[in-house]
């Protein structure tokens, strides 16, 4: 990586490569020792976040399958009140969003922040305690949903008695990330750090506002809907998206050993996202009982999202051009590139769905569900899997035990999510067209959706198979932590670039 970039001026290089990839004086061995020290400092808290996140992923997957089956076979497990479709569906959303995705996000954020600031994590025990509180909060919250205490406010269903625990953990994590940032040894800021800092500052603000205005001192009438969608859409755009983009900006250059395409595009992409995304939420209420100015302003902001989306797409995809051969060897790169392409697609689909004439059809249909999974899964979750493939061997100092399981994971979830998103998007569009034709009986629309809903259950099974393969591989990796380290012939731990990873993946 260093040889390749020697031709570039050092100043330009600093802006285009992650801080921990720079030489920064000192010997090569000294640099590796410093990175190993950072990784070791992150080991316990990051493992806690990853492992509990994966446990929630398995729980969320089972809940998703049950919900999916219930929608085409309503008699399935119908006699248990705590397992109604609404409860299971809501528990699924909350386990995967707060239990899985947010926890993996925190793990990745901590590790990336330490690496990019080039300092070991200070007081890792504190973050570990925050993790325990966090899991307590999710457990109480999901339990509350299943016993019927759901607030019925989308993305904020956890009852009032669970959310303060989550908020305190979030605040601890945010403060600690900022402390790490303040203590940084590397003064240059890489693009990933902007996104990470923004995410940890934005989220507690969003969550705090929503909690106060919806649960603690509820506002009146449809202002609730405005606050609800301001929060719910921003969770995606200002919490998950920045962490996803920060990861792509870090891992793609890192794995292929090449600087990002353009510094200026990364600046434009970041600030246009910051300016426009947070105004998007009301596009979930097109045609709804809110003042027209609110909905119009959100539609305009949604269309303006084309700027950050296209900017980031050019920056990510042009960095990759000419390096697609490396997808054969690096699981990280495979998942990252899948996620980066999905980000572009999900965003374009989102912009289209915000436009009044298209929203008229797709609103209230499975098209929106498909869109949510394209964003949260095909983009975000895939990026998080990719990040874990890179981080886990480094913090455990062990190689991935099975290439076969890596391939099973990738192909299971990649095919699964395509089989989910593509048919559901098409089905939602037809469903919306039928709903808008008053001559079509409502029950005929319901009957039309059934075969497609069964196909979704099949897609869910593929996703589940992928998740199980990944969890087995992670478990096996952990078992190896307790065995003496045997260096294989080719190791991903000897070089920073992952392109020297073991064997070619099937």
């Amino acid at each position: 990586m260093i040889n390749q970039s020697q031709t570039l001026q050092n100043k330009t290089l600093r802006a285009l490569l992650p801080g921990d990839a720079l030489t920064g004086g000192g010997t090569e061995g000294g640099k590796k020792a410093a990175l190993a020290e950072i990784d070791a400092s992150c080991r316990v808290p990051v493992l806690f976040f990853f492992l509990s996140g994966l446990a929630w992923l398995l729980a969320g997957t089972i809940l998703a399958l049950v919900a999916s089956i219930k929608l085409h076979t309503p008699g399935f497990l119908a006699s248990w009140e705590w397992l109604t479709f609404s409860n299971v569906r809501t528990a699924h959303l909350n386990t995967v969003v707060y239990g899985f995705a947010s926890q993996i996000s925190v793990g990745v954020t901590i590790w990336l922040m330490c690496r990019l600031c080039r300092i070991p994590l200070v007081a890792p025990g504190l973050i570990t305690v925050a993790n325990l509180f966090y899991n307590l909060g999710v457990t109480v919250g999901v339990g509350g949903i299943l016993i019927g205490d759901s607030t019925a406010i989308e993305w904020l269903e956890m009852p009032r008695y669970a959310t303060p625990i989550l908020f305190i953990s979030y605040a601890l994590i945010a403060v600690w990330t900022i402390v790490t940032f303040r203590l940084r040894a590397e003064r240059h800021l890489y693009v990933s750090q902007w996104y990470l800092l923004a995410a940890v500052l934005w989220f507690p603000w969003l969550y705090g506002t929503a909690q106060v205005m919806l649960l603690i001192e509820p506002v009146r009438g449809v202002v609730q809907a405005a606050v609800n969608w301001w929060f719910a859409h921003n969770v995606l755009g200002l919490w998950f998206t920045p962490i996803g983009l920060a990861s792509i900006y870090y891992f793609i250059p890192k794995v292929i050993g090449r600087p990002i395409h353009s510094y200026y595009l990364s600046v434009l992409g970041f600030w246009s996202l910051a300016l426009f995304y947070n105004w998007n939420g009301m596009h979930h209420l097109v045609g709804g009982p809110l003042p027209a100015w609110m909905i119009t302003v959100s539609i305009v902001a949604s269309v303006m999202m084309l700027i950050p989306v296209i900017t980031v797409a050019i920056n990510h995809h042009f960095t990759m051009v000419g390096h697609f051969g490396k997808l054969k060897y690096s699981p990280t790169l495979r998942f990252m590139v899948f996620g980066a392409v999905s980000y572009t697609l999900a965003s374009l689909q989102g912009v289209a769905s915000a436009v009044r004439s298209i929203s008229e059809v797709t609103h209230f249909t499975h098209h929106t569900i498909a869109h949510a999974h394209l964003g949260m899964y095909a983009f975000f979750t895939m990026v998080m899997f990719g990040a874990m493939y890179y981080i886990l061997p480094r913090i455990t100092q062990r190689e991935w035990p099975s290439n076969g399981l890596i391939s099973l994971h990738f192909w299971g979830v990649a095919l699964g999510i395509v089989l989910y998103v593509v048919p559901m998007s098409i089905m939602g569009f037809i469903q919306g067209t039928m709903l808008n034709d008053a001559a079509v009986r409502f029950l005929d629309v319901v009957q039309f959706t059934l075969p497609w809903l069964k196909l979704r259950t099949l897609a869910g099974l593929l996703l589940a198979a992928g998740h199980v393969a990944f969890v087995i591989n992670v478990g096996w990796l952990l078992v190896r932590m307790f065995e003496p380290y045997r260096k294989p012939v080719v190791s991903i731990l000897t070089g920073e670039a992952e392109t020297v990873a073991a064997a070619k993946l099937p």
Binding site: T84, F85, S86, R187, T209, R220, V223, P289, V297
Partner: protein, 211 residues
């Protein structure tokens, strides 16, 4: 862009814009919206909800009805909400001022319920539908809510007056009857209270349709 404080302020400023624009301003604009009194008829809209129906709204929330049923009517010419007879006019902010939790919904796996109290006033229909949707709406994918009912042995005094009239495959075993629980009664009271078609200056009901 390596200057931390500038980054920090920029991050806070950008979110502050929509926090003011989409959260605080709407709260100022609509947070104190009240009932409307018709100057001709002195009718007050929206009318207060009975205690029974308010209890029912809590069950509607707790059971998660909102995940499949919306409570909003889109304007005429935008979607088929009015053509389908789901409402006589679009819904507006004032329709929701009594709702403890506003449940507009985002998904129409089932039909809209904004005016279900007007469209289906028969309580017996609602009980049978909740007990098993296949009775009233064959082919529906709504889950049966049998847990909102008690099945019990018919007593000495004969069949209870509030027992559900069930036939064929849905009938309980001989000598047994199906009785709505308090929760079912409150939920049905809430459903029957759902009527958002009062004439408002901001959302007038067309006169010929209002008959």
């Amino acid at each position: 862009m390596s200057y931390g404080p500038l980054l920090f302020l920029g991050i806070l400023f950008t979110l502050a814009t929509s926090w003011v624009g989409l959260v605080l301003l709407p709260h100022r604009q609509m947070g104190a919206l009240g009932q409307h009194t018709d100057t001709n008829t002195a009718a007050i809209y929206p009318a207060d909800r009975s205690g029974e129906a308010q209890q029912g709204a809590e069950h509607y929330r707790s059971l998660g009805c909102v995940y499949c049923h919306t409570q909003q009517i889109r304007p005429e010419g935008y979607g088929s909400d009015i053509e389908r007879g789901w409402g006589r006019r679009r819904t507006v902010s004032r329709d929701y001022i009594h709702d403890k939790t506003v449940m507009l919904g985002t998904m129409r796996t089932g039909p809209d319920l904004t005016n279900i109290g007007e469209r289906q006033a028969d309580a017996a229909w609602h009980y049978r539908h909740l007990y098993n949707p296949q009775i009233t709406s064959p082919g529906s994918i709504m889950p049966p809510h049998a847990f909102l009912f008690d099945v019990r042995t018919i007593g000495q005094a004969g069949r209870s007056t509030n027992a559900l009239v069930l036939e064929g495959p849905f009938a309980p075993p001989a000598g047994q009857e199906v009785i709505p629980t308090r929760r079912a009664e409150q939920l049905v009271a809430y459903l029957r209270s759902l009527k958002s078609s009062g004439d408002l200056p901001e959302a007038p009901v067309k006169k010929e349709e209002a008959q």
